[in-house]
């Protein structure tokens, strides 16, 4: 059962990622991005990261994607078809570079997973009754061991806030 959900979510995530790139209309791309975010959240849940599942849905699907949709509908960019694009050489270069990157990453992963001793991985060492990934456990380490990075993220958000106000100001 778990395997089936994992495979469905994985294939859906990959298919919707292709949809983001291939859809001619930016609104459809945004919808595909939403599907991608939800299937990734499902994968997070299957990997026992419950807090990240909720954070992914609230921050990405709830906030960032809505911002994207606002801007897409505000600017209403003309649709573009990849088939009618005149930059053929650039397209060929991009696709071959993409294939090269895919071969490199997948090959590297296969080598890492098939040779040598298998490392113990988080999702596989989690046993029944373990608290790994729960909000309680994550919050505890966030406010003790990882307090500094957590505080620094607030600085990043402050800079973004000020930047947005400056950029949005009409001259």
């Amino acid at each position: 059962m778990e395997q089936v959900v994992l495979i469905i979510a994985g294939v859906l995530a990959l298919g919707s990622a292709l949809g983001v790139v291939l859809m001619p209309n930016a609104v459809y791309s945004a919808m595909m991005l939403l599907l991608n975010l939800i299937s990734l959240a499902t994968l997070f849940l299957m990997l026992h990261a419950q807090f990240m599942f909720a954070a992914q849905l609230i921050i990405y699907a709830g906030a960032i994607l809505v911002l994207f949709l606002f801007v897409v509908t505000l600017l209403n960019p003309a649709g573009e078809s990849l088939l009618q694009d005149k930059h053929r050489l650039q397209q060929a270069g991009a696709i071959s570079l993409g294939l090269f990157l895919a071969c490199l990453l997948v090959g590297g992963l296969l080598v890492a997973f098939t040779s040598g001793p298998q490392p113990a991985l988080a999702a596989e060492v989690v046993r029944a009754g373990s608290t790994y990934g729960t909000v309680e456990e994550f919050g505890k380490s966030l406010f003790t061991q990882f307090l500094l990075p957590f505080e620094l993220t607030s600085l990043v958000l402050l800079v973004a806030l000020i930047g947005a106000v400056v950029l949005g100001k009409r001259r």
Binding site: E2, A17, N36, Y60, A102, A122, F150
Partner: protein, 100 residues
Amino acid sequence: MTNVTFTMLISALIFTVGACGVLLRRNPLVQFMSIELMLNAVNLALISFGGKEGTAEGQVFVLVVLTVAAAEAVIGLGIIVAMFRKRKRIDVDDIRSMEG
């Protein structure tokens, strides 16, 4: 194939698709969405591998990436809207300088 092998492969492929999207599309909005795809692929990899000892390192990284992605989306979309106000059309080929 274990769960983690599968999610790592999915993560690698989504990253590749996102990189191709940035190179292929000429609409800065869709390019931004492709960048979000790449960030998400990295998040998936971090969650797959993170916290080998049952600790929260990987998830703290993901939280930082999430924050940076939100900040980047706000600033990037702000720049695109400012650009649109000035030129009335958006295409990455039009951008020659950042000067207002």
